[in-house]
């Protein structure tokens, strides 16, 4: 059985981050887009936790906690904005938001 090393965690983290990035690029539904950004942050959390364990240092985990907290508040604000937008335009597709350009 293969031993799971730090590298594996980091690769997982990177893959997750990449998935999140693709989501950010591809999604046009704002809600899904927000989810994708959450994936980004959580990818980082995995990395932090693993590295923290690797170094035997709590700092990384602390960072991860903060990231979680921030992710949560982001969701709060983001959903708030989304709801207002939905109320106004009846749509949560980002293609509806192009009144400013140039």
């Amino acid at each position: 059985m293969m031993e799971i090393t730090l590298s594996h965690y980091l690769i997982l983290s990177t893959i997750l981050f990449a998935i999140g990035l693709v989501g950010v690029l591809k999604r046009t539904n704002l809600l899904m887009l927000f989810f994708a950004t959450e994936i980004l942050l959580n990818a980082v959390n995995i990395g932090f936790a693993a590295i923290s364990r690797y170094y035997g240092d709590l700092t990384g985990q602390m960072f991860a906690f903060f990231v979680i907290a921030i992710a949560a508040s982001e969701v709060a604000v983001g959903l708030g904005l989304l709801i207002i937008w939905f109320k106004r335009s009846g749509d949560i597709d980002l293609t509806s938001m192009t009144s400013m350009k140039g």
Binding site: L21, L25, L94, T95, M97, T98, S99, M100, K101, G102
Partner: protein, 644 residues
């Protein structure tokens, strides 16, 4: 004596300024009288100075004030009355006094009467500065000043297109020569450290010949412009558009001789560079003949006289070029008298004929204008060089100079020219005054001019008559104290007599031939179809050449410079550079298409490019290339999406 110097110099200026004040007003006889009186004052002062110099008095040298002083350059307003300048002063003041008085009559009915006198006096002032200055810069002031006045006076009737054109031509052509003159002056300054005649001339002895030659050539080019030597001669004939007194004063007696005066004045220079002198003489001889050739066939009274002037200037340059400065100056003086007289006479004729200039439309005028006839004939005889009139003494002397100096070709050319001179002069006299009264067909009613005008002309007539044998002796004595006193004597009396009498005979024959041929003013069609006739009547096609190959190309080149180069290249490239930015902005600002997805992609793309660059940086250049390709493709894809 200084007082008289200043009096002679400044009276014309005062006259000019006062007349100028009335410039825009209708005619006031007073301006004419006032300026004439002041000119007369100048004449008297000049005479006093002449007497002073003649008596062996000291050269009068004054410095009025500093003009320019900077660095090592020091140029004062300095004036000198010496043997040479006093002769010029006499010529200038005398002829101009006569012309002023004459003009009172001539310009009688002209609207610009006051203006005319203002210009005329201003001209005299400039001319006085030119001849009296003690340095090259001062001479240049006068030089340009006369140019200005000449411009004003040629274009005096500025409503006439031809007059203003001729004025501009004269000015611009003179400017070409003036440039050479300036360059010559610069060279003098940087070689000798001064523009004062005395200092510069003294210094020339220590200067290498090459530099001196350059100086000599440039100064002479300057002289060529003022004295209308080939190839800068075309303006003189065109300058006849000006009022006739102007032609008499400026374009016959004084201004055009300034070039000769310059060479005479710079005699210490030209003595050191005989090669240039020989060139001057050759050119002079060429111009003498060349101008005479054009006079042979011309049908414009004033132009004929103008060509004759040109021709005589050629004579003067021959003398000056061969080192016979006093001879040149003597011919200059004599020529001034009879040529001015001739022009003034022509003016009388024009007045009588309502400004008609074609002598073929005249004829038989001697009945109506006896005195004019006498005076013009006298002047023509003098011009032709018949003994004992002024022309004989001066012109024959030049022939002798050429002979004595062994320049036989020059001699021959001058001799032939002398015959031509006699021919065209009497062709003119004959056409105007003799034969049938053709003017009647054209409805002219000729009449003699005012008596006071005739009286005013009379001093010139007398001088043309007697200047030669009365003044020659004392003139030589005086002038040669300053100028090289070479005697030009043909040692063998037989040769001398043969030559003199021979010349007289040839000239006489020419006169007779001209008289006979043109008594009836027959226009010979056969001659008119002749190639040479065409060549001559078209002035050797030189004006045509200038128009086609200089003026026109210049005009076209200017248009190209403006429309093509300045607007389309220089300016357009400036605007082009500015537009590059603006156009880039317009082309790319739509990348900001307002779509959130795009914005996110830009951000990720930027990061991706940076990552690729980082990979390239850490792994080497091959990857860098790859990175660019990938990056390019990605950006391209992005762009395509915006387009959609």
């Amino acid at each position: 004596m200084e007082f008289y110097l200043y009096l002679a110099l400044f009276s014309p200026l005062v006259g000019s300024l006062v007349a100028g004040l009335f410039g825009a007003r209708p005619k006031t006889l007073l301006t004419g009288l006032f300026t004439s009186t002041l000119l007369f004052t100048a004449l008297v002062s000049s005479t006093i100075l002449l007497v002073h110099i003649l008596d062996g008095g000291d050269i009068i040298h004054v410095e009025l004030m500093t003009w320019m002083a900077t660095g090592d350059l020091y140029i004062p307003f300095g004036f000198v009355v010496d043997q040479v300048s006093v002769v010029m002063m006499m010529v200038v003041t005398l002829v101009s006094t006569v012309v002023h008085i004459y003009s009172i009559g001539y310009m009688d009915h002209d609207k610009g009467f006051n203006r005319f006198f203002s210009y005329l006096s201003a001209f005299v002032f400039s001319m006085m500065i030119l001849v009296m200055s003690d340095n090259f810069a001062g001479l240049f002031i006068g030089w340009e000043g006369v140019g200005l006045c000449s411009w004003l006076l040629i274009g005096f009737w500025y409503h006439k297109e031809s007059a203003t054109w001729a004025a501009n031509e004269a000015f611009i052509m003179n400017r070409i020569a003036d440039l050479a003159m300036l360059i010559g002056m610069f060279l003098i300054y940087w070689t000798t450290g001064s523009l004062q005649y005395d200092i510069a001339f003294a210094e020339f002895a220590h200067v290498d010949v090459e530099t001196l030659t350059t100086i000599g050539i440039f100064l002479f080019i300057g002289a060529m412009g003022k004295s209308a030597q080939f190839p800068l001669h075309t303006w003189l004939a065109d300058a006849m558009e000006g009022p006739t007194p102007v032609s008499a004063l400026i374009h016959a007696a004084t201004m055009v001789t300034a070039g000769v005066y310059l060479v005479v004045r710079a005699n210490p220079l030209y003595d050191l560079i005989p090669d240039v002198g020989y060139f001057i003489a050759s050119l002079g001889a060429f111009v003498a003949m060349f101008a005479a050739s054009m006079a042979l066939v011309n049908r414009d009274m004033k132009r004929i006289i103008a060509y004759s002037t040109l021709s005589q200037l050629g004579y003067m340059f021959v003398a000056a070029g061969l080192g016979a400065y006093w001879v040149a100056l003597f011919h200059l003086m004599a020529h001034a008298f009879f040529k001015a007289l001739l022009f003034l006479g022509a003016g009388n004729v024009m007045h009588a004929m309502d400004d008609e200039l074609d002598p073929f439309k005249m004829g038989g005028l001697k009945k109506h204008m006896k005195w004019t006839w006498i005076m013009m004939t006298l002047a023509s005889v003098a011009l032709a060089g018949i003994y004992p009139l002024a022309g004989f003494f001066s012109k024959d002397l030049i022939l002798e100079v050429a002979f004595v100096e062994h320049h036989y070709i020059l001699y021959a050319v001058l001799l032939i020219t002398a015959m031509m001179t006699a021919f065209y002069s009497f062709r003119l006299i004959s056409l105007i005054f003799h034969g049938t009264e053709r003017h009647k067909q054209h409805g002219f009613h000729p009449h003699e001019t005012y008596t006071f005008v005739l009286i005013a002309m009379s001093p010139l007539a007398i001088l043309a008559l007697v200047a030669g044998f009365l003044f020659k002796g004392s003139y030589i004595e005086m002038v040669t104290t300053l100028l090289p006193a070479t005697e030009y004597h043909i040692h063998s009396p037989i040769v001398f007599w043969i030559m003199t009498i021979g010349t007289q005979l040839l000239v006489g024959l020419s006169i007779a031939y001209a008289y006979r041929k043109y008594e009836h003013a027959k226009i010979d069609k056969k001659i008119e179809d002749n190639f040479f006739y065409k060549l001559l009547i078209n002035q050797w096609y030189i004006p045509h050449f200038y128009e086609e190959y200089i003026t026109k190309p210049y005009r076209e080149l200017s248009m190209i410079a403006w429309k093509q180069v300045d607007l389309k290249i220089v300016d357009a490239s400036v605007d082009g550079i500015a537009n590059i930015f603006y156009k880039t902005g317009e082309a790319t600002h739509n990348m900001q298409d307002g779509n959130l997805s795009t914005m996110l992609r830009w951000m990720v793309a930027g990061t991706a490019v940076l990552l690729i660059l980082a990979v390239a940086f850490t792994t080497g250049y091959l990857m860098l290339l790859l990175a660019f390709i990938v990056g390019y493709l990605y950006v391209n894809r992005l762009r395509r999406e915006y387009v959609r």
